[in-house]
Amino acid sequence: MFDARNISLRYGKHLAVDDVSISVGEGECVVILGANGAGKSSLLRGISRMAPIDPAGRITLRGADLGAVPAHRIVEEGIALVPEGRGVFTEMTVEDNLWLGSNPKRARADNETRRGEILALFPRLAERRKQRVGTMSGGEQQMVAIARALMSNPDLLFLDEPSLGLAPIVVKELFATLTRIKESGVSMLLVEQNVTSSLALADRGYVLEAGRITSEGTARELSSSSVVMEAFLGH
């Protein structure tokens, strides 16, 4: 359903992503693995149009070209991004953040029912609707970010290192929630450092090293091979 071809991305003169192609199938969960600085987040920012990519790149969602779609329209097209660092509005309440999530027109119609479903998925947020997000713990903020993304009624969810900086117990809870989201039929593209958890969740994966894809395969293949280990700890 989602296809990104020949994506390159630069910061000034530094080539952070070098001619990468990836795809996500309908209802599929795909993970991009790689060590720090391999270019995972840059890739995700590029394909969600938050950062400019080289003109050779092609991004399509269900066949529709996203090349000319400005950043703020991507969510309207059906891709919701949960960025690294969560990107929540910390000075505002949980409720405000969720409301902001329902900004796109595609989300307006059954806004209220969806909110009910999402709050059922995140019971802790339901209790704290009036709380300012900045006063919540890192794990709770991550939940707000994911809940907000779901409010936009997305076809495809992009998650950038959701487990970053969270305690192991919270990471466990997070992945349990992600599994339920996946079961609800939302496709997912996940960038992660947490290899074990993300391969347990994902159907397929890519390994990124120094801006390039060095291997890809099903989650099972990647878990059993040593390429991932080498990508992280060197050869």
């Binding site: 703020h72 509005f89 000075e91 505002m92 902001l100 900004n103 907000r148």
Partner: protein
């Protein structure tokens, strides 16, 4: 004397708070430090005066008209002058310098136009000069109505900011502009809208100001300075902070002019400003 000072201070503070509200929306959302803000306030005052003296309208009708006119004018100003700068600048710092200089130019341009058309004298009109009695203090009716309308407009805007999608989006951009696109907000549209809204408040503030005091073609500069000080005191983008700081400055000015010297009001404002800058540079009400 204390209660009359208090009421004068509140009237002044209410108007200042309204002005600061407009400026903090402009600076907080559109990221434009608009030094010509006070000139738009004076435009509202001149407009009201003309409507009253030439067209024979009630000042309150002029106030209602000033709102959309201020909005439209600022919308145009942003689109024609400031948006090209925002698009051109590579960094926030560059945009800050450029917008300061350009709005500085607009300040002179508008002041010059006022002076050519109206001269440098005090301007104003007579309206509801009869004193009304509030808590044992006699105060001109125009002042009271001015305060009522300042509070009304301020409260409406505040409610809109809290309760409507328009306002929530605006606050989202003010607090974390870099995340706006994530929730489908078009920054450019939002910035233009915020700048125009600020302009509407400025024009309304000018209309209210003209109801109870005279003004000159060059008064805008001091109004801008006071509004800026209030915005920074309250914390940039902080609406409640701007409201409270506006009232504080109004009360301090009224107090200083009664207790020490009317010539020292700006010096007092600046003394407070300096203390705030040194003590809490992110505003009195920041968390």
């Amino acid at each position: 004397m204390l209660s009359s000072t208090l009421i004068v201070g509140l009237v002044l503070g209410g108007t200042y708070a309204l002005l600061a509200l407009g400026l903090t929306i402009q600076y907080g959302v559109a990221r434009i430090m608009n030094l010509a803000y006070g000139e738009l306030v004076i435009a509202g005052a001149f407009f009201t005066m003309l409507m009253v003296t030439q067209a024979g309208l009630n000042p309150l009708v002029a106030l209602i008209l000033a709102l959309p006119l201020g909005y439209g004018f600022s919308w145009l100003l942003y689109t024609v002058v400031l948006h090209p700068l925002a698009r051109r600048s590579k960094s926030q710092g560059q945009l800050e310098v450029d917008s300061i200089l350009v709005t500085f130019g607009l300040l002179f341009l508008m002041q010059g136009l006022y002076q050519v058309n109206f001269g440098g004298n005090f301007q104003g009109y007579q309206w509801l000069q009869n004193p009304v009695n509030i808590l044992g203090t006699k105060i001109a009716g125009g002042r009271v109505i001015g305060l009522v309308f300042a509070v009304l407009i301020g409260a409406l805007l505040y409610l809109a900011m809290i309760k409507t999608r328009w306002g929530v989006n605006m606050r989202a951009v003010a607090s974390r502009p870099q995340f706006a696109a994530l929730v489908g907000i078009d920054m450019r549209k939002e910035a233009r809208m915020a700048f125009a809204t600020g302009g509407a408040l400025a024009a309304a503030g000018g209309a209210i100001l003209s109801m109870y005091q005279t003004f000159t073609a060059v008064d805008g500069t001091f109004l801008t300075m006071k509004a800026l000080v209030i915005v920074i005191m309250g914390g940039v983008g902080n609406l409640i902070g701007a409201l409270l700081s506006g009232i504080i400055i109004g009360l301090v000015e009224a107090g200083v002019s009664v207790a020490i010297d009317p010539g020292l009001t700006l010096a007092a404002t600046y003394a407070i400003f300096l203390v705030v800058l040194l003590w809490r540079p992110r505003g009195l009400f920041s968390t």
